[in-house]
Subunit: 193 residues, 2 copies
């Protein structure tokens, strides 16, 4: 939500983020953003040359907010518990939105992945960042004997990212958190030694 | 690809399927379909009242083709091998397209899931159908002692559907089959007893 203290550029990006997260990139027009922000069209185009430039700023801001949200929620006294707390935070994030919009990164990847290299590169980076973070946590959990050793860390990390993206998609479609929570429960059971 | 023998309606649906699979529902216009098929606009609207009706016909046809493709490729002398052959067929399908367009069902679910109940219901059905098929195969494999017993069949089935959707998304984005093949390799390792 936009608040009074934000400057125009922040207000535009936050409104566009809300609209694109909920409705998708393709379905959100610059006019929708004008309406939602009350910022005049000329002013909007003064800050952003067009929807692509604004869309990239939105994905960067979504990445910054989501990563900060996750970082703040990683807790636990063993590497495995920290991994579980991360997965729980992801479930909570989407549950608190009633799965409205699902994952903005996955959505945008699917909508634009084949067409806009700028978006592909940026979202690839987001997924790579998550994979690296998960790999570090899995490595620590392996060292502590809390995760099975027979599957490569990087493979497990990529498995979890793909599973979460698919699980969020399924929960968005079904409107129930069961799809995502079942994915999380089964993966945490299956990666145990 | 449209061939000469098809009647107009089939030609429209197949062209629309190719366009929507590759470019997405939102980005494909009725004019694109007119151009791709050479069918006159009046004729197109004689068969389909609009993009939504055509889109639903496209998803139904995609489901029919994909399920027939999969059914033809399930082979193997044990339940586990049949499950593996199904997963291999899914990888081969997307690899043969160079992951162009990814999964038409997942894409459309993400693009329209929140907005069009007709699409949501249909795509939920597709995923449910796959889950039921997988659950049957997993149950058989459990009975044969080829799959771990400690995770409920339905949970495993939903896990695999979500994982495949996420894996196809990742491979589409990366342009490499490694994301999806790693998902398949790790899940077949982790569901073993």
């Amino acid at each position: 939500m936009a608040t009074k203290g934000m400057d125009t550029k922040e207000k535009i990006v936050q409104s566009a983020l809300d609209l694109i997260h909920t409705g998708g990139f393709c379905a959100t027009s610059m006019n929708d953003i004008v309406e939602a922000t009350g910022v005049k069209k000329g002013n909007l185009y003064f800050h952003y040359s067009g929807k692509d430039e604004l869309g990239l700023a939105v994905i960067r801001e979504a990445r910054r907010q989501y990563n900060a949200y996750l970082r703040d929620r990683i807790t636990g006294d063993t590497p495995f518990r920290r991994l579980e707390s991360l997965l729980d935070a992801i479930v909570s994030f989407h549950r608190s939105r009633d799965f409205r919009g699902g994952c903005i990164f996955g959505n945008t990847a699917l909508e634009l992945g084949g067409q806009h290299e700028g978006f592909s590169d940026l979202i690839r980076d987001v997924f790579r960042e998550w994979t690296v973070m998960l790999a570090g946590m899995i490595d620590n959990a392996k060292e502590a004997g809390e995760v099975r050793e027979d599957i490569k860390t990087e493979v497990l990390a990529r498995h979890i990212v793909a599973l979460l993206e698919g699980g969020v998609m399924m929960s968005k479609l079904s409107g129930s958190d069961r799809d995502l929570t079942d994915c999380v429960k089964s993966i945490t059971a299956m990666i145990r030694p």
